[in-house]
Symmetry: C2
Subunit: 407 residues, 2 copies
Amino acid sequence: MKVINGSIIAPRGFKAYGLRAGIKPGKTNKDMAVILSDKDAVCAGAYTRNRVKAAPVIWDKKVTDRGTARAVIINSGIANACTGERGYDDTSKTAQILAGLIDSEKEKILVASTGVIGANLPMEVIEKGANMLVPLADNTEEAADLAAEAIMTTDTHSKKIAVEFELVGKTVRMGGMCKGSGMIHPNMGTMLSFITTDAVISHEMLDKALKEDVENTYNMVSVDGDTSTNDTVVVIANGMAENAKITSENQDYEVFCAALNFVNEYLAKQIAADGEGATKLLEVKVQNAVSPEDAKILAKSVITSNLTKAAVFGRDANWGRILCALGYSGGEFEPDKTEIALKSSNGELVIVKNGVGTGYSEDLATQILSADEVTVSVDLHGGAFSATAWGCDLTYDYVKINADYRS
Amino acid sequence: MKVINGSIIAPRGFKAYGLRAGIKPGKTNKDMAVILSDKDAVCAGAYTRNRVKAAPVIWDKKVTDRGTARAVIINSGIANACTGERGYDDTSKTAQILAGLIDSEKEKILVASTGVIGANLPMEVIEKGANMLVPLADNTEEAADLAAEAIMTTDTHSKKIAVEFELVGKTVRMGGMCKGSGMIHPNMGTMLSFITTDAVISHEMLDKALKEDVENTYNMVSVDGDTSTNDTVVVIANGMAENAKITSENQDYEVFCAALNFVNEYLAKQIAADGEGATKLLEVKVQNAVSPEDAKILAKSVITSNLTKAAVFGRDANWGRILCALGYSGGEFEPDKTEIALKSSNGELVIVKNGVGTGYSEDLATQILSADEVTVSVDLHGGAFSATAWGCDLTYDYVKINADYRS
């Protein structure tokens, strides 16, 4: 497997575009994008578990349950969440508009929205935007980049990746783009991720591959099972690589899953590192837990601890807060056996052994915490299971962004 | 029942004092306090559920399980948490020192610590402090005030209250002081609360009264059952009011519980309003939930939502975030029936009906949110159960305090 250019249009038979239709305030912010497949594709989705679900989430779930998609249409600026029946009608109408323009059926159109909750979509602007997007959609890297920019909200940069890998006798490609941010109390920041591939795979296997992988990637971005009203990950596979169709957990399936994991983990880490106001990517690795579930619970508890995140921002090796976050997580572990180390490109340092501080050099700890990517490694010396979670530091800018978001 | 002066020394037979022994950096911060009872008192405690428990918590649990206390000794500056065997020995030694000075047994001395995790207590300073405190301890309001100041860490003011109430034929008093702060990811801020009373009550009934009440007071301060390494609430009842001993759930017990609830709720709200960097007290009332547990889960989810708290700081009536926090809580409710109102001394406004925004005046909403105390009232129109949680807004100063705490 190798990383290639092109993101979502790297696989055969995909076009994309992004532009400003006029949903967001201001005059320059892009706010609509499309991804078009040349032919009907198999699709799968994973969605927010929030009891309050935005209209496009309810819509897309039906599309991915049926399993066939031709295109995705996305808007940023307005989330179309908490908008009742009118919201659902607007999503359906959006699908209808795009379907008409590409000679498809609205039941095959995925729709995604992100932005302010509670506002209605300006349907005339959506229609105008769709009409502009379809003729401009192209299979160039530039077009894909515009799409990745158009789905951003408080993201500071667009997030995209593509890979190429071999299934028996055939070269297959997979691309992805996503938007995140708003990560501090993580289950609130809307995360949208769109994966394209030209692999031939059954709906059942694609669904299985995606659902299993999100648990180790997006759901470990300082997010627990609880998520925002709009969180959506969809994969569309148009089969144009002409590999032998994956219909069971064979070797091709394993390779496909590895590629999907690489793409999803890359995007998940990009989301974490670009959390609102973040200055660095924080990674928490929990090792030797007594069960996979305990490993995840413990890793997530540290990554979501505001006190730990604020300490990392302050370059303060406050191991007490880390141990405390492990302690209140509900996960099984023995404090007296716990070892904690800090790692980054600036060095590595064990700061806790057997549950107490090691009397390490604070200067070296501060130096390690000054890097752009910092890993907190927790060894529980309990069992054989591990988990990794990703997040970011908590900064003044987070408060600024979220105190002023709607104004 | 009426509010009276004197806080912890208002009940008969209690003395207190607070002073600077030299545990905290700087030269002026007070850091040690004592509460002394003239005679052995019945005692009860409620403690952190964190798997990582500080030495004084382990010690005090044994004292309150036995049920008899003569005094409390408290230090701020160092939490004596994650300090292993040496930490426990230091707590035991602290109890021994005070016991020697007041002619009691160390098994009857409650010990509490708050401050930095992982550091050891300077035992010479503790011994010196105890030696200074005992002769100075007095039953004046000034002495009680010094004690309330000496237990503070990042608190901006001391927190205290006292009440007087009637049990059959006797006037009984109850006083309390506490420290909190560090409330944003709430289960981290160490909360210490000390309640004194001259009521005559059995160990069993005092224990029952306290354990039930903390669930509706301290544990609703944007704290769930999971708490910091040091959280402690103790009540000591020295019986000097000479009322008929409370040994069952009779009417006197009900009155006693009402007084305890008044004192605890007052102190809990003081803690919430003085959360690190907070500019206002936020109260979340959930009404008409289908069960008491769901009401609590839903109220706590809103009070702990960073996005909601940052919006309140920004005076932004972002009801989408409130609805979203209800949605990911795991509590049972129907979004389509949900009503949300904002209330303060500046007015009252329904901002959500049937799960969607009401098209209210943003100006009025901002005005309501500008008050020092704001209530978010959620009516679920589902069942007959309610719960109230308390917290504060999320501000720049929170980040500042917690990025710099140890430096």
